[in-house]
Symmetry: C2
């Protein structure tokens, strides 16, 4: 490819981007698309609904860009939480690093490459791209020192920026921990592996254990139930309620509201139906014992202080490490209830199985790629499947098969990857939604780096073996031969895949179609669904482009302008999306940053190794040797950061929690928190005011909890593979709990079942 | 080598063993050698000293074998602690596994190998050893199924035995934790990375931190001082004492006893010298401020309960992970004081440096091996160093150079390895002696397996490259080619190195020489020194032989009888040594077992991989494929054990500690324990009744603490690189503390300096 070809490609892609962005600026003004483009604003009721038809609605405008650009860190933090801010800092940090790299590479490196060999240069537009790569520098050239120096400058500036960014984000994470001071998860631990005993129910075991060992700090606990079976129990309860209504209508017992009943502490004594007819008493007994049978060996235990919960969540509890396994509980909306009922002893084998499955998928993904490449060779297909010969004579079909089908097939396979990885992460058994997303994020990151970079580099060159494990000293040389050859491919990859992904991200074509289908075909007036930020697909993508940027910055500096444009646009687009589109349901509290840091260090070290190999191949052994201390320093820097910052992302400092406890005690807020704790974790929620419909929406029910009562918000949650609930009003927002009206609830043994008329979009302003 | 050669070699080695064992049985009866052969008994005063000369003293007798054989588990536990028992269980477990392997291999495998090819067998004595290896089975033979079956049986029985052994040792470890219920280390944490502040001393910082965050559970603390500088302070204190004695002899202040003074809690208020003359007051002020200056950023903090200490030792304390780093403290005699003063922020870099140095040593050890091998080729030496030509014409010198020098040089290099590894482990910065030994043990284990097995196997065959990293599927095949060829070498290795090491172990030639020199040349009547068990050299040796046993059991079953003899003798010898010779100063509480388990699993998997390769080479692909599930099952079994048992060896279960706390509270023992805690950790001890000699023995002073007072036992500790103190009376033995006579001690600020006439071998019976 020559310069003019590259510029043409860049022009086409720029044009497409402009068209899509203009289209977006029009589409976002249409009231019918509010659900697609303003999910976050809708959730916060910050949107002025525009009903009137005006000319203004159909004129493209760059106002969204201005708004996105002007959004402050505080706004981002308020809308998207710390994770969103961390994600944007990834993009900004990449921007900065590659700006420096672009400056360094445009002055000494690029001219040196261009004039590296004595040759007659053609007119610049028809110059081959290879002339601008390091391949054009002649062997043994003294100018390779400039490349070595540039590598040093890029590495050092990247490390310095990373250090300050890590420090900054650690500070923000601590502020986040302190800021979410009324976070119920800080008082709660998840106990798994509760031993089964024939005499006691699980709940009794937990109570016994906690009162025995944590008598002073134990508050109460809440069992986890088998998700599948609870549906049946809920049905039973509903039937029973019907029966009660029939048998004792005069006692004013029937109520329009039945509370979820499976949430709330279980330390209350058994109250309830003593004044009821005997049959009802028997029924309730049955349900009570049924419920006990459906308990699984996991429970949420609430403590009186954060430090007590932290102490109980760390280390080993029992002399059998498979029993009484404790962890700090996730936030209420973050709990992945389905996985809590997985027996703890299964987890290690699930982890191994999903690890193997992910590695298998990574390796076997070569098969669809091979299939796609075979589609490009029609002759072979005709040989293998002679009956197709007739069909393949049609020119249009041939064009479709060779022109579109391969990329469509590949795209379909690639689109399936995040869902498959999410499935693997679900099977793995994380206890929180954010944990599952984080796990999927890592899997997709490894997948992309392997399949986009390594498979392309290794299969595109002479090596052509998939698993190349040769002696270590050859690795650098082999990479040095293979990587520069693919420079043109990755340049166009950034142009097409990178820029296009941003257009697609801002247009949300899938959601737009859904919305259209939902509103104009099904004639439904509600907005179809809300999305949470797909960190598991976007973080790997941004990190992949960073990875490509590092590896090619020195070898083929022409990639840098395109990357810079990508990161700049990404900054704008994701800012806009975070402020307007995505709803934050749960967050990891910035735990994605170490992944960014480690990936960048990996990219840096790989770049240095490749550079070492290239210097070696270009017969500049001194420059090659000079990169070795750089590699060592980079690794040491990484180790230092791991020691200095990483523990904060793994554990919560005891000091901070003790201070928070003390503050709350001094303010007299503790009793209030204890009250809220009893009801804030809600495994099941009813969805309708019709008593016969007390059936959870699906296996992963969701409920939002405000004011101590489980309200149900029937949001059609179409987050990819994600089914969390919407934290419209968090306990941390300091809502005062109102007393539950006991007459509105229904006692089953020591549990209340309570129903409430659900109000679609009963959204509170924050 | 043929059978007769092997039998001759075995005969010679058996004879040598018999001679050494008889010699030992005579030498041990000599009263002058009691210090060498009965260190443990001497320490416990369980030895009847025999002074009379009798004929019986010079007759070899097998009585020691009987005694060693009859020693019960309880005796071993009492003499050598849990670590010794775990070590013996390693030997016994290896015995059992290889007995099963010997039975399996002697019936189907050995005859199949022997009659594997159609050939004319010679007279059995002159038959080559290769006839008995798997190499003699012809390609594609159906009998390879028998080998595959044998592999299954050996693997399964090894796994079953390992499982029950792991379970058993976990139980013993728990019993050990419960049994050492008055262990002061359970109440103590080590705080490192105390931040420096210009206003406060480190001690004040610790007090502030603990009273702020652990007000209810904090008892007191004890600072760690720079070891080098404290010697100076001790001298100053001694001088001051002299001065006091001069100025105020009438006040009865001078005493023969000066307490160590740097130990004991620092929460007492400053008392002391107010009635003294002003000069003394000034002096004491100077010393006090001096002492504060010599504090380093580490302290031992004592808590009121075990659970509080556990809670404070886990997780992250401060929002800066490099500050306020907490760990459970080692036992008093186990503390490696010198390393406590290492700044915490240095540790990670020390760890990396020692890791790299160890790997370097492992790889570079090939150089002395190469040098030794070059000695075998005199012609080349003569070519390189022509001036040696004259010398090398002398036949005797040639014999020495070619015959003895190589093995002597190699032995010297090999002898240096444990010391070097111990040095590396010291530099690494472990806080306990046992931790240091454990770290050295791992290093030596990896060193031996790499340098004895892999380097021999790889350099001895056609591969002849040191770093062989080829594609994974070839590894099995390459090992399968290389390993069987070295069978004869390893058979003789077991015979010579294995059996000889046992003879050397029981004879203790080095100690015997030292003793002789000390008693008959220096005319010193005391016993020279006591030894603690060298786990860091013996465990790797036993595991190496186990490793060889597994890898060759199937390939060359003739190795098994020699190995069985080795393990049987090892059982006897080590039992005898533990009961009689080695003194237990500190222990890890069975933490060596996971190393044994992991090494055995590694050996098993490597055996299976080699077998897979061999089956492949012998063109039995089905048998080869059938070993794959075996490998997977073995790895899964290992992972299960890691989940089920390993956490107990890493952490102490909270449940156990809470129970212990409760017991002690109910018995009213807590106050007593608190009193003992104040004085049980003693960084420095004085060694003489001469006041001017209050100089620590060396940088790593030792002190034994009984009855709450720091007694000094001047044992000449010549444990290899090891300088721990002798736990003659442990706090766990429930000695009642006697009140310290305040008039016998000397106050410096809020610290007492106390001197005591040391009584050589003032050993108390336990």
């Amino acid at each position: 490819m020559d310069i003019s070809g590259l510029l043409t490609s860049a022009g086409i892609n720029t044009g497409l981007c402009l068209v899509f962005f203009s289209l977006y600026s029009v589409l976002r003004k249409q009231p019918s698309n509010e659900g697609v483009y303003f999910g976050q604003r809708l959730a916060q009721l910050q949107l002025k609904r525009r009903g009137h038809l005006s000319f203004d609605r159909f004129v493209p405008s760059p106002s969204w860009i201005v708004k996105a650009w002007e959004a402050s860190e505080e706004e981002i933090l308020a809308c998207g939480g710390l994770d969103a801010l961390v994600f944007l800092r990834m993009v900004v940090c990449s921007c900065r690093i590659f700006s420096i790299a672009a400056i360094i590479c445009s002055f000494p490196v690029l001219p040196l490459n261009y004039f590296g060999k004595e040759m007659r240069h053609r007119y610049i537009a028809s110059e081959s791209l290879d002339v601008f790569t390091i391949g054009n520098v002649k062997e043994g050239s003294k100018w390779l020192w400039a490349h070595c120096l540039a590598l040093y400058i890029i590495s050092c500036s990247a490390c310095v920026l990373l250090y300050f960014e890590y420090k900054n984000i650690t500070r923000m994470r601590l502020a986040h921990i302190i800021g979410s001071s009324l976070n119920p998860s800080q008082f709660t631990i998840l106990v798994r592996g509760i031993p089964w005993s024939p005499e006691n129910s699980y709940s009794d075991s937990v109570r016994k254990f906690c009162t025995n060992y944590y008598a002073t700090s134990y508050l109460s606990h809440q069992m986890v139930y088998w998700s599948g079976t609870v549906r049946k129990i809920m049905n039973d309860a509903a039937k029973m309620y019907e029966m009660i209504k029939e048998t004792s209508t005069e006692q004013n017992f029937g109520s329009r509201l039945i509370r979820c009943g499976l949430c709330g502490g279980t330390t209350h004594s058994v109250k309830g139906l003593t004044s009821e007819p005997e049959s009802v008493q028997r029924q309730s007994d049955i349900t009570e014992s049924d419920l006990r049978e459906k308990e699984c060996g996991a429970a949420l235990v609430f403590f009186r202080s954060r430090y007590a919960a932290l102490g109980a969540s760390q280390g080993l509890q029992s002399s059998n490490p498979m029993l009484w396994v404790t962890d700090l509980a996730p936030e209420p909306h973050d709990v992945y209830w389905k996985n809590l009922s997985i027996p703890y002893r299964q987890l290690w084998i699930r982890r191994i199985a999903t690890l193997l499955a992910s590695i298998g998928l990574m390796i076997l993904f070569v098969i669809p790629v091979g299939f796609v490449q075979s589609l490009l060779h029609l002759e072979e297909i005709q040989k293998k499947f002679p009956f197709l010969r007739g069909v393949l004579k049609n020119k249009i079909i041939v064009r479709v098969v060779t022109g579109y089908l391969p990329s469509v097939v590949l795209m379909l396979f690639l689109y399936a990857v995040p869902s498959i990885m999410m499935l693997f992460s679900t099977i793995e058994g994380p206890i929180s939604r954010s944990g599952r997303k984080k796990s999927a994020c890592f899997k997709i990151l490894y997948f992309l780096i392997w399949n986009v970079f390594f498979v392309n580099v290794l299969s595109g060159t002479a090596i052509e073996r998939l698993v190349v494990v040769s002696s270590p000293k050859d690795v650098a040389a082999q990479l040095a031969t293979a990587v520069p050859k693919q420079a043109t491919f990755f340049m166009t990859y950034v142009l097409t895949s990178g820029w296009a992904s941003l257009s697609s991200e801002i247009m949300q074509p899938y959601m737009l179609l859904c919305n259209f289908f939902y509103k104009f075909i099904l004639r439904n007036k509600d907005d179809p669904c809300t999305l949470s930020f797909p960190y598991h697909t976007e973080i790997p993508r941004v990190l992949l482009f960073g990875f490509l940027g590092f590896t090619y910055s020195l070898l083929a500096p022409l990639i840098l302008p395109f990357l810079l444009v990508y990161f700049f646009l990404a900054n704008l687009v994701y800012r806009n999306q975070i402020i307007n589109v995505y709803v934050t349901r749960y967050q990891t509290g910035g735990k994605y940053w170490p992944a960014m840091h480690n990936t960048t260090i990996f990219s840096l070290v790989l770049t240095q190794i490749i550079a070492m190999g290239v210097f070696g191949l270009k017969k500049s052994p001194v420059a090659s040797a000079f990169t070795v201390p750089l590699i060592i320093c980079t690794l040491l820097f990484n180790e230092y950061c791991r020691q200095r910052f990483y523990p904060i992302f793994k554990d919560t400092p005891a000091q901070v929690l003790i201070d928070l406890d003390r503050n709350d005690e001094q303010c007299g807020r503790m009793e209030e928190i204890y009250k809220q704790l009893q009801s804030v974790y809600c495994q099941f929620a009813s969805t309708s005011n019709d008593v016969s419909n007390i059936v959870p929406l699906n296996d992963c029910q969701f409920a939002s909890t405000s004011n101590g009562v489980c309200n149900t918000v029937p949001l059609n949650d179409c987050d990819d593979g994600d089914d969390g609930s919407l934290p419209r009003s968090r306990i941390s927002e300091g809502n005062k709990p109102t007393q539950i009206n006991v007459e509105d609830s229904f006692q089953v043994g020591d549990r209340r079942i309570e129903l409430e008329v659900d109000q679609p979009h009963s959204i509170e302003t924050t």
